[in-house]
Symmetry: C2
């Protein structure tokens, strides 16, 4: 006996809506980067907010390994959608986003609006958001992979996630 040969289903409105809700509900995510010294993947936790397009953004410290890694190589991946304390965690929907990290220039035109959006979603970050080593990063998403539970997988485009044409 075996699993279905192709677990990927055609992307439909329900899949898009589920992916959208996983981004909208995320307070944090697992961030995958490339470790510069080894070339190996490295996964850490970051806080997540949403920019004006509804795409993920975060706030990181220059002292963190993931920040140094993203300055060396902006290719990264986010895993969103956390299981609750009970039930089978592999049945809980989750979304992988393949992204490019874009550092938001502190003196740039978009910084003020993104800082305000981040603080509206993470009010306690006001304690450290203006520290000299903290940076806002927004994630340019180029593709996504939604796993809605056993045998319910979907490939997504950036357009599926933003509704942009």
């Amino acid at each position: 006996m075996a699993s279905p040969v192709d677990p990927i289903r055609p992307t439909d409105a329900d899949a898009r809506a589920l992916a959208r809700s996983l981004i909208d509900d995320a307070r944090f995510a697992a961030l995958g980067v490339i470790e510069p010294a080894s070339g190996a993947p490295m996964v850490t936790r970051v806080a997540i907010a949403r920019d004006a397009r509804g795409l993920p953004m975060t706030l990181v410290s220059d002292l963190s390994q993931h920040t140094k890694a993203l300055r060396s190589n902006p290719a990264c991946s986010l895993l969103l959608g956390e299981p609750g304390p009970r039930g089978d965690p592999l049945m809980h929907p989750r979304l992988t986003l393949q992204c490019r990290a874009v550092f938001v220039a502190p003196a740039g035109t978009e910084h003020g609006a993104l800082r305000a959006r981040y603080l509206a979603q993470h009010p306690k970050a006001k304690l450290y958001i203006d520290f000299g080593d903290f940076r806002l990063i927004r994630f340019d998403v180029h593709s996504g992979f939604l796993n809605g539970g056993f045998g319910k997988a979907f490939n997504l485009t950036a357009k599926d996630l933003t509704g942009a044409s």
Copy 2:
């Protein structure tokens, strides 16, 4: 104002015990792999059990992207330790493990014992563990990074995690 210059503290018995508890309590983890086509990191969710050394193991399908990626490049990373539904997720302890994935040969000497251990920790997996496309993987851990909350970070060796000399 800025964060402390070096956020890494000397590893002590409390840090080792916290890392150990995060592995022991994990039902699942975020797995970071290298996507073969792009060379980019990719993060997905996998179930986690513990082998006889107390190190993480998982069960994956050959149809999954992470399995294909690990066959191409076994370098990977696991993020363990899930925040609860309330509180600041960045204050919740989490553990990054830098690993090499080792596929457990179905006909090999260690398969039976690892299969039994996996099922003891994930009883519902009896429904699919013997499907032809499913594989047990154990993770050889070569280093770890423990983040116990803001300003409480520790580098760990494999010895710190297993107690082995």
